[in-house]
């Protein structure tokens, strides 16, 4: 897979995120989209009437009991009668939406694209019903009927990882500590917290080996990104070349069997994210990344559960299989470490309104590369490159996107 037309390039002009919270009772999805869009337009210095196309990013029709919600978002911000398309890939929906913007612009179908995403995960249904809605994203004939649901699937993956590599519960608890801590410097975050490994270990057991604080929370929220070609940006963006120029330089997508039970051994077995390795290989090749730990300044990793972040390090090529736990203990992925991950707080600290999550990762990488992040979470720029990993199912859909600063 090679990009044919190197003359055409896609830039990230701006981003916005609504406040993420357990429940945004002051509005619903369309209102949070409005917040994120207004922030993104102001950030990009563009007018909505100039933008040619939109992409909708949300996952579940059940949570908001509203099908075709994208039509509402799109008309709400005055985009009619211009074109819109919805993408959906479970937890990877936001990453797919960024990839979609890249594909549409590279193909010449449009020169500018606004991507907006949200999820209404809040407290309007009890959490066991919410878990049921999410479980519907696994095989409803073969897995859901035996009381399969996502925490239980991921717990089985982590037990297999512990069995195979000796990974310890305390090691993935460190991920939760880091991500809650990073969220303290993100005012939009749902769950900022200063906690210790002991706090995580002592929190209520949900599904062995995952305790309450190992899990991300259901959040309400929205996010938005605006992409365009250089020619379009020159004409329509007040901030082109006034703010640092950020380019999309890599995108990759991979998949795996819906049911973990069908995946081949030894790799990925029920331990690894094969689709993520595929996605990363494609994106790294496009962007010329050889050694991810050196070639990125920051990386947003899909930490739906703390252990997922560890396994993802291995499949994203940050380290060899089984090495992620010891590296987390050494602080390699902390702020100030070799490759800070989830500087935004990630899904665990920032929050996980599914359709917004992958876009919020993009907004974080944009802020980091422009050096606009809160000083306590701003990374040092060396490679001037940031990555994001968006992931659905049990690694069923995986998308890796790469942004780079050009100056």
């Amino acid at each position: 897979m090679e990009v044919m037309d190197r003359k055409r390039r896609v830039f990230v002009l701006g981003g916005g995120v609504s406040k993420f919270a357990a429940e945004r009772a002051d509005g619903n999805m369309r209102d949070w989209i409005n917040e994120a869009v207004l922030e993104a337009l102001a950030d990009a210095g563009v007018r909505i009437e100039d933008i040619e196309h939109s992409t909708t990013s949300y996952f579940s029709d059940h949570f908001d009991k509203q099908l075709k919600a994208g039509a509402i978002f799109h008309d709400n911000i005055g985009m009619c009668p211009k074109p819109n398309v919805r993408v959906e890939g479970g937890g990877a929906t936001g990453g797919l939406a960024i990839r979609n913007a890249y594909a549409y612009i590279m193909s010449g179908l449009c020169d500018s694209m606004i991507v907006f995403g949200a999820e209404n995960m809040g407290r309007h249904v009890p959490s066991d019903v919410a878990q049921q809605f999410i479980a519907l994203a696994s095989d409803t004939d073969w897995e859901v009927q035996v009381a399969g649901f996502y925490i239980a699937y991921y717990a089985m993956m982590m037990v297999a990882h512990m069995e195979r590599y000796g990974t310890k519960e305390e090691q993935f608890a460190l991920v939760s500590v880091k991500n809650h801590r990073n969220a303290m410097y993100n005012p939009k975050a749902h769950y900022p917290m200063d906690i210790t490994v002991e706090d995580v270990m002592k929190s209520r057991m949900i599904t062995y080996p995952y305790k309450l604080l190992d899990n991300c929370l259901l959040s309400d929220g929205a996010a938005c990104l605006i992409f365009a070609t250089e020619e379009w940006a020159k004409k329509h963006s007040a901030y082109w070349e006034k703010k640092p120029t950020i380019e999309v330089t890599g995108t990759g997508c991979g998949t795996d069997f819906m049911r973990m039970a069908d995946r081949p051994f030894p790799y990925p077995g029920i331990t690894h994210f094969r689709g993520k390795r595929t996605a990363a290989e494609q994106a790294y090749r496009m962007a010329g990344v050889k050694n991810p730990r050196e070639d990125f300044d920051c990386f947003e990793v899909h930490d739906a559960y703390s252990g997922v972040e560890l396994v993802s390090y291995e499949d994203l090529g940050f380290c060899k299989e089984g090495e992620s736990g010891p590296l987390a203990e050494r602080g390699v992925f902390d702020l100030g470490g070799e490759l800070p991950t989830n500087t935004s707080g990630g899904l665990i600290g920032f929050g996980h309104p599914v359709g917004a999550t992958g876009l919020a990762q993009g907004v974080e990488v944009l802020r980091q590369l422009r050096q606009e992040a809160h000083p306590k979470r701003q990374v040092e720029l060396n490679a001037k490159r940031g990555g994001m990993d968006s992931h659905g199912g049990t690694g069923t859909f995986c998308v890796v996107n790469i942004f780079e600063r050009r100056d």
Partner: protein
């Protein structure tokens, strides 16, 4: 007044600005902070077809565990598939002895609303003898949780009681 006419009204309240500190000119949405919450019940019932997979469940009721085997590449898919994803050949049914080893498990102290299952419950992935892929089901009758170990021998057990779904005609237990 007049809101008492709304039968499904749950509450009327004033929402706070979640980002109050972010607006130099004050709360831009201040005119929109009076909030109603109503109840909306939706119920669905499906007449769900088990299609080409039905034989698996019919034979489970006869205490036989069937998998599917690809006549071309020989791969045995424990969760049945009419079409082998590896080579796109149509498979045939193959009976397995119903014994195997525990590949991984989790212990849940929480269960989503739709499942009538006592907590804690154990979800297990099992490598069945004679199959190339795994099968996911609950592990029951394990005694102490501490006794559950990856690699332990397990077997398919069959219910003699009524169940709410044909998938629950079976479970795994230590062999």
């Amino acid at each position: 007044m007049g809101l008492e006419l709304v039968e499904n009204l749950l509450e009327v309240f004033t929402a706070e600005d979640p980002m109050a500190f972010d607006h130099p000119q004050g709360d831009p949405w201040s005119d929109f902070r009076e909030i109603m919450r109503v109840e909306w019940k939706v119920e669905f019932k499906y007449r769900h077809v088990l299609g080409k997979y039905s034989k698996f469940f019919i034979e489970l009721a006869n205490h036989r565990f069937l998998a599917t085997e690809c006549g071309n590449c020989g791969k045995v898919w424990a969760i049945p598939r009419p079409l082998c994803p590896d080579c796109l050949h149509v498979t045939t049914w193959k009976e397995l002895p119903g014994t195997g080893t525990l590949e991984s498990f989790s212990v849940s102290y929480f269960v989503p609303a739709f499942m009538k299952v006592e907590t804690p419950y154990v979800l297990a992935m099992v490598k069945l003898d004679g199959a190339d892929t795994l099968f996911t089901h609950q592990l029951r009758n394990y005694g102490d949780l501490e006794k559950i170990k990856v690699g332990m021998p397990v077997k398919v057990a069959y219910t003699v009681e009524k169940v709410s779904h044909p998938m629950l005609l079976m479970w795994f237990e230590p062999a």
